[in-house]
């Protein structure tokens, strides 16, 4: 027995209740600064995220200069770096550690979490599920301003005299807990913790809003199986965020107590200058457990939105339905669940019980299965499609490439035995920069190219986009591929210099290549920033649906106002991937077109659905019961 309840009513629905309340015309401050409109908040997240990405990129080039040109005189950077250069014109070793730490923190949290999720979840969720705005516009605004406060604190920490946090982005105690250990563990670390606390609040406010909106504010007909894959990805990302960020908060809280109030959660038996510290009975491994319980899900908080964006772009630009919609949803769900039970693969060499290690190895390797399903589905979606190589499509294909090459090395690293050799080497750096860093970054850039017309009503310049893609794509591989060799040879990450040891100076040429490639790649991003700013004001005017896409955001006007749709919210009748349907007039059928209007392309079971569609948008509910 099956029961189907279908409610195709469009004239009366709960979205319209708050429709009129939002139609106010505010001044500059309420429209552009303290806005509660999800589209403005998304742009705020995007622009802040891009600013952070530039800062993070410049920091990485600074430490790559040290690694690629260990003998160079950098005194020409004196106006910027000032006291952080030694008298010989080299980067101060402690500042080098601060650079690495801040690069990691900025890229993982501020760019790929806030900049990616914050931008696209905010922008796309209401537009694609058919809502006027987020469930709570006020909370959404708070989410951005907490992020802004967090950014301001982190940015300030770059300029204090003792330098920013320098204990690595993973802030392992005791290094991060003791100001005596490194100058960055003083005020810089305090500011880091304050900034992250604000960041966690921002992230939780955002995630609660995303989930609530997706579950409660979907338009009529938008069942879960009709959601675009982007929304599924944002939904699962937000669920992961809600479950994992509080754990980081707990870890940071205990660290704050250790640093400022003299407790010993993470500290024990420490001697500084021959003097024993009073702290007894703590465990630094405890911090690692807590940190990685967030830290591993965080990888998927970063990656899943990019995968969702890619699914949408690849299907649109292949002019084909996504291959295996349910498999895509299922594999994302499976990845989300697995992300919580693999954290200890970051800790194989902490003296963990080898049996426990083998369990975490097994769980880790299982992640390869849903990941492979996703790659397979991307490739089969493109297979025999009428592929249109827009810049967004190229960046999406780039993501699939990085997801594959970076993911394969994850299979190596997930093995607790080989990890003894590879952990904390450049092999790890290469692995996560490809699979998490570059893949997510490409997803974000692809999203910007694809939804720029909806955000700003104009098109980005395609030629500059192609140059941007090819330089970045080749550049990323030139940066990270050599690192695999350097890592297998045993070079540890975070080291300031290897040239002090004759044995380790062998890879100077590869490091030189990596640095040059990194500089070129960063330069290509400047080209993109130029394209972005120029096109906001001078770009070609976009049509309402420039990519002939099916999802609801393209049914809005060129520049949607607060409330998104001038009239009623469209009702959804079909799934979001009706591309190149046999018999159809166009090669796409948007989600709001009822089956009754497309008799030429309907499948037999879809003709059955016609009689459930309301006539003329009248408010009726049809309950069908099958016995």
């Amino acid at each position: 027995m099956a029961t189907i309840d279908i409610h195709p009513h469009s004239a009366v629905d709960h979205h319209d209740e708050h429709d009129h309340g939002h139609e106010h015309h505010g001044n500059f401050w309420t429209t552009y600064v303290f806005s509660e409109d999800h589209k403005v908040i998304a742009k705020q997240f995007l622009i802040t995220g891009m600013a952070w990405a530039l800062i993070g990129g410049i920091l990485s080039v600074l430490f790559r200069l040290q690694l690629g040109f260990p003998d160079a005189n950098l005194s020409w950077l004196k106006p910027i770096l000032g006291g952080w250069l030694t008298p010989e014109g080299k980067i101060d070793p402690e500042f080098y550690l601060a650079l690495v730490t801040m690069h990691g923190t900025i890229m993982v949290f501020f760019v790929l979490t806030a900049g990616l999720s914050g931008t696209f979840s905010n922008f796309l969720i209401p537009l694609q599920v058919g809502a006027r705005d987020m469930a709570s516009g006020f909370m959404n605004m708070l989410s951005y301003w907490f992020f802004f406060a967090s950014s301001a604190v982190m940015f300030t920490s770059l300029f204090i005299s003792t330098g920013p946090a320098a204990g690595g982005w993973v802030i392992y105690p005791p290094l991060s807990a003791l100001p005596q250990a490194i100058s960055g563990s003083g005020l810089g670390m305090t500011l880091w913790l304050v900034s992250m606390a604000l960041f966690i609040v921002s992230s939780l406010l955002g995630s609660i809003n995303y989930i609530t909106t997706i579950i409660n504010l979907r338009t009529v007909g938008m069942s879960f199986t009709k959601l675009p894959l982007t929304i599924w990805a944002f939904f699962l990302t937000a669920v992961i965020g809600i479950l994992s960020f509080p754990v980081l908060f707990g870890a940071a809280l205990l660290l704050i107590f250790d640093r400022s109030f003299g407790t010993s959660f993470y500290l024990s038996d420490i001697y500084i200058g021959g003097e024993a510290l009073p702290n007894q009975g703590g465990s630094p491994i405890l911090f690692q457990h807590l940190f990685w319980f967030l830290g591993h899900p965080e990888v998927y908080i970063v990656l899943l939105p990019a995968l969702g964006i890619t699914s949408e772009i690849i299907a649109t630009n292949s002019r084909k339905p996504i291959f295996g919609y349910k498999a895509m949803v299922g594999s994302m769900l499976f990845i989300a669940i697995l992300s919580f039970v693999v954290w200890a693969h970051h800790m194989f060499v902490t003296g963990m019980n080898p049996f426990l290690g083998s369990i975490f190895t097994l769980l880790t390797l299982i992640i390869a299965v849903p990941s492979a399903v996703k790659i397979f589905n991307y490739v089969t979606t493109m297979w025999k499609g009428n592929i249109i190589f827009t810049p967004a499509m190229l960046f999406s294909i780039g993501l699939v490439s990085f997801f594959l090459t970076g993911g394969i090395t994850g299979v190596f690293l997930g093995n607790s035995a080989i990890d003894i050799q590879l952990h904390d080497t450049y092999f790890v750096v290469a692995h996560f920069h490809l699979v998490m860093g570059s893949a997510s970054f490409f997803g974000m850039v692809a999203g910007i190219y694809h939804w720029f017309p909806k955000m700003f009503g104009r098109m980005l310049n395609e030629k500059l986009g192609y140059i941007h893609f090819w330089v970045t794509f080749v550049g990323v591989y030139l940066v990270f591929f050599p690192m695999h060799y350097i890592g297998i040879a045993g070079f540890p990450r975070r080291y300031y210099s290897w040239t002090n040891f004759e044995t380790f100076s062998g890879f100077a040429d590869l490091n030189f290549l990596v640095t040059v490639a990194a500089i070129v790649t960063l330069a290509a991003q400047l080209l993109f920033v130029f394209n972005f700013i120029y096109s906001i004001f001078r770009g070609r005017m976009a049509s309402a649906n420039p990519w002939n896409s099916t999802t609801l955001e393209w049914t809005t006007p060129r520049l949607p106002q607060h409330g998104n749709w001038p009239g009623e919210i469209p009702t959804v009748y079909r799934w979001p991937y009706d591309y190149s349907k046999p018999g159809a007039k166009d090669d796409y059928i948007p989600q709001h077109i009822p089956y009754s209007e497309t008799p030429e392309s309907n499948l037999p079971h879809e003709n059955e659905l016609i009689k459930l569609e309301g006539v003329g948008g009248s408010a009726i509910v049809v309950e069908e019961k099958k016995h």
Binding site: H14, T212, L243, P246, H289
Partner: protein, 195 residues
Amino acid sequence: MEEIVDLRIVEEPKKPMAMHPKKFGMWLFLASVMMLFMSLTSAYIVRQAEGNWVFFELPSLFYLTSIIIIGSSVSMQWAFFAAKKDNQEMTKTMVLITTILGLLFLIGQFFGWKQLVAGSIYLVGNPSGSFLYILTGLHALHIISAIVFLLIVLISAFKGRIHSKNMAQVEMCTTYWHFLGGLWLYLFIFLLLYR
């Protein structure tokens, strides 16, 4: 299997989802608070397994405060039912009683800390004591936030804004209060079992 399909047309439209967005957001917030305490209690277990763990008796006042918080949950639920039946006077009284019981709970927790200090268990020292202070302190902070929420509900009750047609606020407050009561019982039983 033979399928019989009967179609009937109902006039009243149904909403796709019945959940109130703010109530739903409240539950998500509770999930994240839950994760915070789960992480700290699991950290407690992991740390305890490593040895060097000082054993001490929990303050006897914690038994009393547990009874207080159970009582406050009863009064909160009473307030909720009263609001549902449009019994405004009873709603006000019960929200007020809940607030007072909440404050009593906080005072009880504070004197519980005094008992710990009298037994030479300080925040700074062996992690077994530090954990106790962190867990109870963090819970007390949440109770303070809930008392602020109760006061907001109390003000709306005195303005006559809480009645059977406008239950969302008092319902969310009830949910939060029960959650924090349950959280305290979880923490207390956890601390009794793992010492």
